[in-house]
């Protein structure tokens, strides 16, 4: 009977279904199956003798864990407004040095993109099997050892500029609220670490260890914009290139400039109403595996 009931529905249900089917946007199963584009640049490098600058590691299986959100139209416009305001604020420093951020909630070609709160740095695994085990273990850990029900992600009323580990890109980010970091994010990070310890058959590589140490749950944030070619990063790269001996001094100067930017942003608090509209709920975390995202849900309340 239930089977038949499923096949037939009332007209009202029909309309609802139609609305739901399309207004929810592209189903998340599809988004998760093909989340990472093929890295075609590697074929250029692989064929040439010069491997420098290749942003990939041969014989490594990488992943990282994150909380994902798909901003609504309203949230997208709020993020645009924040970005606009922040750009104006950062422009006060010096028009030459002010980074020009591009929003991350929309691609350069105009397609909406999900945003995420990272829970780890990039993780390298020695084999596909290790990565599989990690994914399975993490799913179990999250299901069993994380409080049931959806998790509210709220943000602190300030923006911050972060950079990547290579100091080549800058990110404008919303800080995750302190209580979320201390209660939930830290717990999730512990579960991730435990899962990693369970599956890894070798000590993390130097590169992996450096990345992990640079990342901490206390810095949990959601990047909303990115700048790949700012004057600050260019200047740093230039100084390092000219005199590698003085790279420490260059780094100090670079850090100082970042601190200056953050200081400017300190004076631009975000309104609580705005933050209320940007908060979101998640009912699980995700990790990347090959081209796809793997979903690790929290236990449900019911």
């Amino acid at each position: 009977m239930n089977h038949l009931k499923d096949l037939y529905c009332s007209e009202e249900e029909d309309d609802e279904q139609l609305d739901e089917g399309l207004s929810a946007g592209l189903p998340s199963e599809i988004l998760d199956k093909y989340c990472i584009s093929p890295n075609v640049e590697k074929y250029e490098y692989a064929l040439g003798s010069d491997m420098r600058g290749a942003n990939f590691a041969i014989g490594k299986w990488s992943s990282f864990v994150f909380i994902e959100t798909r901003p609504s139209r309203r949230q997208q416009s709020l993020l645009d407004a924040i970005l606009h305001k922040a750009s104006a604020r950062l422009g006060h420093t010096s028009t030459m040095l002010a980074p020009v951020f591009n929003p991350l909630h929309v691609s350069e070609l105009g397609s909406p993109l999900p945003l995420h709160v990272s829970l780890t740095a990039n993780l390298d695994f020695g084999s596909a099997r290790e990565l599989d085990t990690f994914a399975k273990m993490l799913q179990i850990e999250v299901l069993q050892n994380f409080p049931a029900g959806p998790l509210d992600i709220t943000f602190a009323p300030r923006l911050r500029v972060y950079d990547n580990i290579e100091h080549s890109s800058l990110f404008l980010a919303l800080e995750v609220a302190a209580h979320v970091k201390s209660r939930s994010i830290s717990r999730l990070c512990t579960l991730i670490t435990e899962s990693l310890d369970f599956c890894r058959s070798h000590e993390p590589s130097q590169r992996d260890a450096a990345r992990s140490s640079a990342w901490s749950f206390e810095n949990a944030h959601m990047s909303i914009a990115r700048c790949d070619n700012s004057a600050i990063t260019r200047k740093y790269a230039h100084q390092c290139h000219l005199s590698p001996a003085f790279s420490a001094a260059a780094l100090r100067s670079y850090r100082q400039e970042l601190a200056n930017l953050n200081q400017l942003l300190e004076s631009m608090p975000l309104e609580s109403e705005l933050l209320d509209e940007l908060k979101f709920q998640c009912s699980g975390i995700k990790l990347t595996k090959e081209r796809a995202n793997v979903w690790a849900p929290f236990a449900s309340l019911g």
Binding site: M1, D19, E44, L109
Partner: protein
């Protein structure tokens, strides 16, 4: 010996003589035989029987005598009805009993007796006699006795159709099982099964014995024997299939065993005969119907319908399920009319309603169920998914189908290039038509992240996305998309090589920049928007990049040139033509030259430049390209410059250099016509002569006629006659009617009787001497003509021989 018998049967003198002889020599079998022979001639059966009996009792141990006597007795009853003549048969039986008592070791007598009893259809007696025979005869003769009984069982007792017919009628099965339960076990042939069960133990042909046992409907016995000989032991039938025996076993278990044993045997059967799964499923469903368990029968069929992977199984199960539901509906309605008790009535109504709903669903969703089947067969078949989407009308349902498709298809296993990309486009199109442009963009964006093997998948998505943006009036967004798609990597050649040699390991995304389709769209968009110098520059850059990537076609070059012309950059546009001419060979080069020269003429470029261009252009004739139009264009150009002789010389050059006959003919026509028109009729004389000599006969005749007409205009009638004579000799008069008509008219107008006669004489001579026309023969269907060689003779000193090329529409060139 009683006196009554003597008076009745001893009637002749010969009888008396034999009786006397027997009195004296009664132990002599020869005398008895002679007496019997004598009695046989009298045709008195009673008298003969009287003598036989006396003889048999005289020689009680003579098997031969008894056999002869009993055979004669049995022959008397041959064809007689054993019921009507029961008394006679009984008498015979008693005689047999006497004989068997005396000759119990005679297998022939036992066989005769058994056959006699079989003839009577006396089952009890057959069984008793079989037992007796087996008891008295030696083991080696048992099989002879068994054969008689088994033959009788096979031919007279069992009917192979009974078992089959009982299974056919689903309506009756539903009606009887669900509404009128009664004993459906049927009548078992216990007599046969009992005998066959014993026979199986000694039978040489076990398969046949088991088959016969299967026909008896004695299910417990069948199940027992089959379990022993088929299930527990290796069994390989030769005449019937193993599946038939297992089916019989299942039928027997159904009637005689527990549910668990039946279901276990059924599961085993399904495992053993996967190709028969649908039949077994139907059998299982019938089993449940027989147990009045419609619910399980239905769910068994529905489950099978949802898991079967062959079309045959699907249609069998589907048809049976539909029939079952129809039968149930029909029986339920009849039952409801009979049964008016409220409780049962309500239950019946509820069941009926559910089954009717299910039936309706099955009938309505037949296409969908078939589509399910196709997807079970190959989930990576994009075409099937697209067909599935067409089965639904609402966008939400279609989205679900596309989502299923994208998540279930393994893009590396799709077989049709471009199809998976098309699937993404269909999904995006759905969002576009519903006004959800962001979702459409998101779809295209995700679709581009798939590591396709084939470039056409990516082309489909990029083009669809760009077209969507165009439809939304966002032309710059379209351009931006395509610019991104066509971003050329630093080591483009290396990437293309990696893709070509990578054996599908390199995704097509790496070589998107070599997509001709995307470049064409990109350039079209750029051209349509380039109003600013920057736009023009970008378009030029795009064209140049296309050329640098060696992707540009002749059409791209022509478009590029036209684009520059539209911008007023004529010199640049001519340079593009010149670049194209250096790149493309043969026919393409000729096409480009045609456009280039025409545009150069239109632009009135300096005469020397034009001459230079024509000189280069006419070299395409060396590449075996037919280019009469270029020669004519060049000739027209020289004519326009006032150089008449030069214009004719150009055409003459064309006539000599062009290889194809049609080009030659066209050029000769132009050459002769322009020569007469521009230089006067006399100037055409040497041209006509050359033309007629070089063209094949079939084509030369029309020029000969033209030549004659020209000479007639010039008034040189002798030359006219000479030319006509020459032209007439080229081909058979029947095929040269125009020339002969003209000649006839000419002679009537300008000749006399003798010239006319001479003409007719020549026509007759030609008609008789040119009977065999090799050209005509070669033109017949199926014949192949020799083809003139294109190569020069090897000996350079030898003058070229003018070859008459026969025109043959079916001519082929063998390039070996």
């Amino acid at each position: 010996m009683d006196t009554g018998s003597v008076t009745r049967f001893v009637t002749s003198k010969e009888d008396i003589a034999y009786e006397y002889e027997l009195q004296s020599d009664g132990d002599n079998l020869v005398v008895w035989r002679r007496y019997l022979e004598h009695k046989k001639t009298q045709e008195n059966d009673s008298a003969l029987a009287w003598v036989y009996e006396r003889c048999c009792f005289q020689f009680p141990g003579s098997t031969e005598m008894w056999l002869e006597y009993m055979m004669w007795r049995v022959s008397l009853l041959s064809g007689a009805n054993s019921v009507l003549y029961a008394e006679e048969f009984e008498k015979c039986n008693q005689l047999f009993e006497k004989a068997m008592y005396l000759c119990y070791q005679s297998v022939e007598l036992w066989e005769l007796y058994l056959r006699h009893v079989v003839e009577q259809r006396n089952l009890h007696l057959i069984r008793v006699l079989l037992n007796k025979a087996l008891r008295h005869l030696h083991m080696e003769y048992h099989i002879r006795v068994w054969d008689i009984v088994i033959e009788f069982i096979e031919n007279a007792v069992l009917d192979p159709q009974v078992a089959l017919e009982a299974e056919e009628d689903i309506d009756a099965l539903v009606n009887e099982s669900l509404f009128n339960p009664m004993d459906q076990s049927g009548v078992a042939d216990v007599w046969s099964s009992h005998i066959l069960s014993r026979y199986i133990q000694v039978a040489e042909d076990l398969e046949h014995a088991l088959y016969l046992l299967g026909l008896t409907q004695d299910h417990p016995e069948i199940a027992k024997a089959y379990r022993k000989y088929i299930i527990d032991m290796p069994f390989s039938p030769a005449v019937h299939t193993a599946y038939e025996f297992h089916c019989t076993y299942l039928r027997s278990l159904e009637k005689s065993s527990s549910h668990s044993e039946y279901t276990q045997a059924m599961a085993q059967c399904m495992e053993m005969f996967p190709e028969q799964k649908s039949s077994l499923i139907i059998q299982l469903a019938k089993y449940y119907i027989g147990k009045a368990d419609l619910f399980t029968a239905r769910s068994t069929l529905l489950d099978a319908l949802a898991s079967t992977v062959t079309s045959k199984s699907f249609s069998e199960i589907y048809d049976f399920l539909v029939k079952l539901l129809e039968a149930f509906a029909s029986s339920s309605i009849q039952q409801a009319q009979k049964n008016t008790e409220s409780e049962n009535h309500q239950q019946l109504e509820s069941d009926l309603a559910y089954n009717m709903d299910l039936l309706e669903y099955l009938l309505e969703s037949h296409s969908l169920l078939l589509n399910d089947l196709k997807l079970r067969q190959n989930v990576n078949d994009v075409g099937t998914w697209l067909e599935r989407a067409d089965l639904f009308s609402s966008p939400a349902e279609k989205v679900n189908v596309y989502t299923d498709a994208i998540t279930k298809i393994d893009h590396l296993k799709t077989t049709i290039p471009g199809s998976f990309g098309q699937l993404w486009c269909c999904l995006a199109q759905l969002y576009t038509t519903s006004g959800k442009l962001d979702a459409a963009r998101e779809t295209y964006d995700r679709g581009l992240r798939v590591p396709y093997k084939s470039l056409s998948d990516l082309e489909n998505i990029w083009c669809a996305w760009a077209e969507m943006e165009l439809e939304c009036g966002r032309i710059q967004a379209s351009i931006k998309l395509l610019r991104e798609a066509l971003k050329v990597p630093k080591s483009a050649g290396l990437v293309v090589d990696a893709y070509n040699t990578g054996n599908s390991s390199v995704p097509a995304k790496a070589i998107t920049f070599i997509s001709q389709r995307l470049w064409t769209l990109y350039i079209d968009l750029l051209e349509s928007t380039c109003e600013s110098p920057a736009g023009i520059e970008e378009t030029v850059r795009a064209y140049e990049q296309l050329i640098a990537l060696k992707l540009a076609t002749p059409l791209n070059f022509i478009n590029y040139s036209h684009f520059l012309q539209e911008q007023g950059q004529w010199d640049e546009s001519f340079k593009i033509y010149e670049r194209a001419i250096t790149i493309f060979p043969g026919q393409a080069r000729f096409d480009i030259w045609s456009l280039y020269l025409q545009q150069s003429l239109d632009r009135k470029r300096p005469a020397e430049t034009m001459r230079d261009l024509f000189e280069q252009a006419l070299k395409v004739v060396e590449e075996d390209v037919d280019c009469p139009s270029l020669f004519i264009l060049c000739s027209d150009f020289e004519h326009s410059c006032g150089l008449e002789k030069r214009s004719i010389d150009v055409l003459l050059r064309g006539c000599r250099e062009c290889k194809s006959l049609s080009a030659k003919v066209a050029l000769w026509k132009a050459c002769l016509s322009f020569s007469k028109e521009r230089l006067g009729a006399e100037s055409s004389r040497p041209l006509y002569e050359e033309c007629i000599k070089t063209l094949p006969n079939s084509r030369a005749t029309s020029f000969a006629l033209e030549f004659a007409e020209t000479e007639a205009i010039l008034g040189d009638y002798d030359r006219v006659r000479a030319i006509l004579r020459f032209g007439a000799g080229l081909i058979h008069p029947d095929r040269n009617a125009q020339l002969w008509n003209y000649w006839s008219e000419f002679e009537l107008k300008h000749g006399d009787k003798s010239t006319y006669k001479e003409m007719l004489k020549m026509k007759r001579e030609l008609a008789s001497t040119m009977k065999v026309s090799t050209e005509a023969v070669s033109q017949k269907d199926g014949n192949i003509a020799f083809v003139a060689s294109n190569t020069e003779p090897k000996n350079p000193g030898t003058p070229p021989v003018t070859t008459e090329i026969a025109e043959n529409p079916e001519e082929i060139v063998l390039d070996i």
